[in-house]
Amino acid sequence: MGGENEVKRTPIFLLTVALLMLVMSLAALLLAIGTYMMQKTIDLVNIVLSSSAIALSLYLLIQIRKRPKRLDFETSKVTTVIRCVNCDYNSTREFEKGDYILKEVGVCPKCSGSLLIHSIFREVKEKSSK
């Protein structure tokens, strides 16, 4: 799998360009502030250009330095519901290996009927969306 070593390289050229842009735009902004302090005139074009360049270079830097997404995989709780075939008895417990739906798992404590696994499911907590 030859290409795998290339996967985690940082684009040095783009990083240099973004850093250079950030330094230059900061200098331009400072110059605009200096002009305002000395002459009390606002260099609007310079302020707008330098602020937008700062925003753009910061965005580029964030994108370049962004780490890969976390690699944890969600494991939800799985529940097994057991019901009696004769009466209304039912119980719930955590899933155990070997469980399957309609498996006989014992005798009903209320009526001595057969206890079957009625359902197995996982419960998902929905992420709130705006």
Partner: protein, 376 residues
């Protein structure tokens, strides 16, 4: 005094003008640079994004392989190391039949699917000699999931490396656009590995669960390969309820089973109802039940074709009851909402039977889907 102040002011003005000019020039150059290299910068950023996802896919692929090997070792207690065989199977390729001449393509496709299934189970059987039939089915599902993860990883890597080599915006754009969907699907495959390893029912088994509920406690017989049928009295009608044989992971041959029952009854079937899981649209609730007409059978189309063909031959109405679920739920452990949907689907089936058939009629109810973790 006045003259000095004026000179200083002029000099300061000149210097500021010069600095201003330099910055103007730099900005112009920067804009020209972005104008020329803008797409390349975007390309590099997109490659960076793909790179992060590719890394995650690689971890998923490796985890799939590792889970497969450890499950085979745990369940099958093999005498020899299964790793080389698993690695060989992860590179397995299916070649679709030629469609230039479409005559008999379904029959040829079915043959290839049967050969694939047989080969996969046979390989699992050899790797896990102490596994029972149910465990072999589940292990085959685990192996198929690991295979899918490997294929996804390799395809994304192919586009990534190709994009990097050519720096072609459009090559990279293709994979970048569908990357969120690929990641969702891959995450579903990882959840599926857990479900298949533990033998838990999955979202795709919603249809099979409906059939299992209907045939519970009734006599069953094998009607086609890995497929059972049970004769059940529902609302005064004789219902032939079909599902794949569980609780091992398999989908059976519902198309063949339906065809055989109809042939046995010489076409005297009033109605066919097919229950299957269907992909929900964004905004729809998981477990929502919808009704329709037609053969609601997913997969490569062999079973769907058989049902449509035989239903058309005898002019039997085909009804569908669909249980909606997201792509990530199809192969993950079944959600509570889908189990609730199963109960609603049963009520809908009864209502359809009452409304569309007469007392004493014979109907076919087929629960489609992978029956892992669901007995009968």
């Amino acid at each position: 005094m006045f003259t000095e102040a004026l000179m200083a002011s002029i000099q300061q003005g000149n210097m500021q003008d010069t600095v201003g000019w330099i910055f103007q020039l730099i900005w112009v150059l920067a804009f020209v640079f972005i104008w020329i290299y803008g797409q390349r910068i975007q390309t590099v950023l997109m490659l960076k994004e793909i790179e992060g996802s590719l890394y995650k896919l690689k971890v998923m692929r490796d985890r799939g392989r590792q889970i497969t090997i450890s499950t085979i070792k745990e369940v099958g207690k093999p005498d020899e190391d299964p790793e080389p065989r698993v690695d060989r199977l992860l590179e397995h390729v299916d070649i679709e039949p030629v469609t230039l001449d479409p005559t008999g393509v379904i029959r040829r496709l079915e043959h290839i699917i049967n050969v694939r299934e047989f080969k996969l189970r046979d390989e699992v059987r050899q790797m896990a000699p102490r596994a029972d039939e149910m465990q072999i089915n589940n292990l085959a599902n685990v192996l198929e999931t690991a295979l899918a993860l490997n294929q996804i990883y390799k395809i994304v890597r192919h586009y990534y490396l190709m994009g990097k080599k050519t720096l072609s915006f459009y090559v990279i754009l293709q994979i970048q656009m569908i990357l969120p969907l690929i990641m969702r699907e891959s995450e579903a495959f990882i959840s599926a590995l857990r479900a298949f390893t533990l033998g838990q029912p999955i979202g795709d088994g919603a249809g099979a669960l409906v059939a299992a509920r209907l045939m519970q406690g009734k006599e069953k017989r094998i009607i086609a390969q890995d497929t059972v049928v049970s004769e059940v009295d529902i609302e005064g009608r004789k219902a032939y309820v079909i599902k794949a044989r569980g609780p091992g992971g398999n989908v059976g041959k519902p198309g063949e089973a339906i065809r055989q029952i109809i042939e046995e009854k010489e076409g005297k079937i009033a109605l066919i109802i097919i229950i299957d899981a269907a992909q929900k649209l964004e905004g729809e609730r998981p477990g929502e039940v919808a009704e329709g007409v037609g053969a609601a059978i997913g997969g490569p189309g062999v079973d769907k074709y058989k049902v449509e063909d035989i239903a058309t031959k005898y002019r039997i109405p085909l009804y569908a009851v669909l249980i909606k679920e997201g792509i990530e739920d199809v192969i993950s452990t079944i959600r509570k909402e889908i189990v609730d949907g199963v109960e609603e689907a049963i009520e809908r089936i009864k209502r359809i039977i009452r409304e569309k058939t007469k007392s004493g009629d014979a109907v076919i109810i087929a629960g489609i889907g992978n029956t892992i973790g669901i007995s009968q």
